[in-house]
């Protein structure tokens, strides 16, 4: 493999690994904070126990997120020196702000995790608030830089030199509103469904107890609210991409022909060499209508652009389809859950629904990963859209092959170990709970 492919593979693997921990780092603090607040307000030890249990799992997840985030910071320079040398002074400021946000998060995670025995209850709960805020802020700041790669702004190029740098305009580039918000709410979607999956599995295996009866509805509340917002922001994103990156949009929709009254393709296999999409269900005029609310509007297809500027169309198409399809299913599932819960005035614990929720956890992670595949593959062949080709940004260092393999091995080891520890931790908590209550009473009254 050449350097560009290796650099992309290494960076992509690192991002795909890190993002799972990053979104849990954004979403879990909110769940813990709410659970602890309810526990303190109602004097309910189960809610408090839930918050504490989550904080232990979170300690592991946050640490892996922090080290994999460190990897990414290094890799920006190690893999993409051409990109960083060009754009560092334009988009560095949101990164700096993200650095501070992450710093605050790391500090209060330390206080929160190690403070259960040292702080008074209200002080301990208060220490969760900065984690919630800075986690969300980190996500907003760091996605700004990705948005800038999609719609570079805030500078001028004069004879190949950068002038008139405006860091604020770069941070608040045209892609920022839609991309930032969509990523942030998606973090809560993933967290909600991931946590719900754990407790749905517990119910299915007969471990349902007071903690499960509290955890599942709280997680599903986050899931349903966030899934709705993800739908709205996702729709706004797609509309924005249609104007900003028409090639990416056409690839997402598998639309090869420029035509008025374009149909919406559902499923199907795009064949770039034959310039057509086969086996798709076509709904006439719907794509035009979705984009403009007019059934006869013209939609630019891939044929409006030279093939040298096309991304890998099947990858972009299937990533987009997976994200949309899974996202819609997840939204419907969360609505069904709450419809049943409200009608029954109790958590619906039908085995089939619980099984669906167990699957929904990984499905939400998959949807988010697919969204990033869509964003990143869809921008190719550019690293900075319409400005710097990805190939021009990669390093010329010669050891990329071995380091790629090393990092794959590290990620596999970290992922497997983390899953093992979390499962062991859950089993131990269950065992402790099953033990006689007297054995677990606190030392003091």
């Amino acid at each position: 493999m050449d350097n560009v492919t290796l650099a992309r593979a290494t960076m992509g693997t690192s991002l795909a690994f890190h993002i799972v921990f990053a979104v849990l780092g954004v979403g879990m603090p909110l769940l813990m904070s709410v659970a602890e607040a309810i526990g303190l307000r109602r004097g309910d030890r189960f809610w408090l126990a839930l918050a504490r249990r989550w904080s232990k799992a979170f300690g592991l997840i946050f640490a892996i997120g922090a080290v994999s985030g460190t990897v990414l910071t290094f890799e920006l320079g190690l893999l993409w020196p051409g990109f960083m040398g060009f754009s560092g002074s334009i988009i560095g400021l949101p990164f700096s702000a993200e650095g501070f946000a992450f710093f605050i998060e790391a500090i209060f995670v330390g206080i929160y995790l190690y403070g259960w025995d040292r702080l008074r209850p209200l002080a301990h709960w208060l220490s969760s608030i900065p984690i919630v805020i800075s986690g969300a802020a980190s996500s907003l700041f760091v996605v700004m830089t990705n948005a800038w790669m999609n719609s570079p702004a805030g500078f001028q190029l004069v004879n190949g030199r950068i002038t008139h740098v405006d860091p604020l305009a770069a941070a608040l580039n045209p892609s920022t509103p839609t991309e930032d918000l969509h990523m942030l709410v998606s973090a809560y979607v993933v967290t909600g469904f991931a946590v719900a999956a754990v407790y749905a599995a517990g119910f299915l295996r007969g471990h349902g107890d007071a903690l499960h009866r509290r955890a599942l509805p709280l997680a599903m509340l986050m899931a349903v609210l966030a899934a709705g917002l993800a739908g709205i922001t996702g729709d706004a994103s797609a509309r924005f991409v249609a104007g900003n990156q028409p090639i990416k949009f056409a690839a997402q929709e598998a639309q090869f022909q420029t035509q008025p009254g374009a149909p919406l393709h559902i499923g199907g296999i795009p064949l770039p060499s034959q310039r057509k999409t086969i086996l798709a269900v076509e709904i006439p005029h719907l794509l035009s209508w979705l984009l403009t609310f007019r059934t006869d509007a013209t939609v630019r297809g891939l044929d409006a652009f030279p093939p040298s500027l096309w991304p890998n169309i099947p990858v972009v198409r299937w990533s987009f389809e997976s994200m949309s399809f899974l996202g819609i299913l997840l939204g419907l599932l969360s609505l069904l859950y709450w419809y049943l819960a409200i009608r029954r005035r109790a958590p619906p614990l039908f085995p089939r629904l619980l099984s669906a929720l167990v699957v929904a956890g990984p499905a939400a992670v998959l949807a988010m990963e697919a969204g990033w595949f869509d964003t990143e593959f869809g921008r190719q062949p550019w690293i900075i859209y319409n400005l710097m080709p990805t190939a021009a940004a990669a390093t010329s260092a010669s050891a990329l092959g071995p380091t790629f393999i090393v990092f794959i091995l590290i990620y596999v080891a970290l992922g497997a170990t983390l899953v093992w520890l979390l499962l062991a931790f859950a089993a131990r908590e269950r065992a402790r709970q099953a033990a006689p209550a007297t054995a677990a009473r606190p030392r003091s009254a």
Binding site: F62, G77, G88, F95, S396
Partner: protein, 346 residues
């Protein structure tokens, strides 16, 4: 003072904070690996207790430094990434394995008990990272990180780079040992263990530092000129401070020792930085020819000013809760959440 100089000062402050805080965490890993004698387990517990709440925050200083570097001096960041790919990748692997092994051990103990592989990985990775950081620093200081230099031994594998890599490891170990002397004030036996370790690290560090000066004098006249020119006052401070630290360790004054060893680290770093000013990456990049536009530098300083307003009180809180004089005494149990948490039985 130009904006670029101000931002470079900021960059060096971040590196300094990382050296005295993150450096001590690397040293903790070193002593974890070398824990021995009848109090082996207590030594390890003291190290884990000292690092647990703070190591992730300490690690952010490095990320912060990198972000300042690529925002303010993007060409320098790109050149470092290109030409120091191998040592920085090894540093990175060290940092990842160190953090992961520490977290797995600290948070996984409750679930799976002791797993014998965490310790060696944590220790070995804690040595790898500072060693290659030191070697990379030597490559920069000796002016060997330049696209115009072809052939020869890579800058991070020269004799002085190897020496400085080892010095970085031993300084981290020295620093950690004095920090741990403070942490173990309530346990004289354990404190004596760390005092002996601090002495050993002090002797090794002193020898490696003298060797570094000899090598600089003999092989790297440009570096020697910078250290004995602009860098001289700081270098002299380091030379005077060294014995003070040693005496403080010998006479068991842990707080003075901690301060003096941290000072030693800082004097060395700043002697290097001041010595090579206005170069940031000799021989190609000075502060002025590699700095980004003023508007970015100004924006960065503004963000840092605002950020510090939130960050410094937060850091103060963190260290006050876990590192204050009486931090070893948790709140009386009835006041904390733990007391309210009976393990649910229904």
């Amino acid at each position: 003072m130009t904006l670029a100089t101000a931002v470079a000062g900021l960059l060096w402050l971040a590196i300094s904070a990382y050296a005295v805080l993150g450096g001590a965490d690397f040293g903790g890993g070193f002593w974890d690996l070398l824990a021995g004698g009848p109090r082996r387990q207590r030594q390890r517990d003291a190290i884990a207790g000292a690092m647990g709440p703070v190591w992730e925050a300490n690690n952010v200083w490095m990320i912060f430094g990198m972000v300042v570097c690529f925002t303010a001096f993007p060409a320098v960041f790109a050149t470092l990434g290109r030409l120091l790919y191998v040592p920085f990748t090894i540093v990175l692997i060290g940092i990842v394995l160190r953090g992961a092994a520490f977290a797995f051990r600290a948070h996984g103990r409750e679930a799976v008990g002791e797993v014998p592989v965490w310790g060696p990985i944590f220790g070995a990775a804690s040595i790898l990272a500072p060693a290659f950081l030191g070697a990379a620093a030597a490559a920069i200081a000796t002016g060997r990180v330049s696209p115009h230099i072809h052939g020869g031994v890579p800058g991070w594998l020269t004799p002085i780079a190897i020496d400085l890599g080892l010095l970085a490891v031993s300084l981290c170990a020295y620093l950690a040992a004095t920090y741990l002397m403070v942490e173990t004030e309530a346990d004289p036996e354990l404190q004596a263990d760390f005092r002996r370790r601090a002495l050993a690290a002090a002797i090794v560090s002193g020898a490696l530092a003298v060797l570094a000066l000899i090598l600089a004098y003999a092989q790297w006249p440009a570096l020697w000129d910078r250290l004995s020119g602009q860098g001289l006052p700081l270098l002299l401070l380091a030379l005077v401070n060294g014995p003070i630290a040693l005496i403080a360790v010998l006479t068991t004054h842990p707080r003075i020792a901690r301060l003096a060893v941290a000072g030693q680290m800082l004097f060395v770093l700043w002697a290097w930085a001041v010595g090579q000013w206005p170069y940031i990456l000799p021989p190609d990049y000075t502060l002025s020819n590699s700095a980004g536009p003023d508007v970015t530098l100004r924006g960065l300083l503004i963000i840092v000013a605002f950020g510090m307003v939130i960050l410094l009180p937060s850091l103060f809180l963190l260290f006050r809760i876990f590192k204050g004089r009486n931090s070893a005494e948790p709140e009386p149990d009835s006041f904390t959440l733990s007391s309210r948490l009976t393990t649910p039985s229904s």
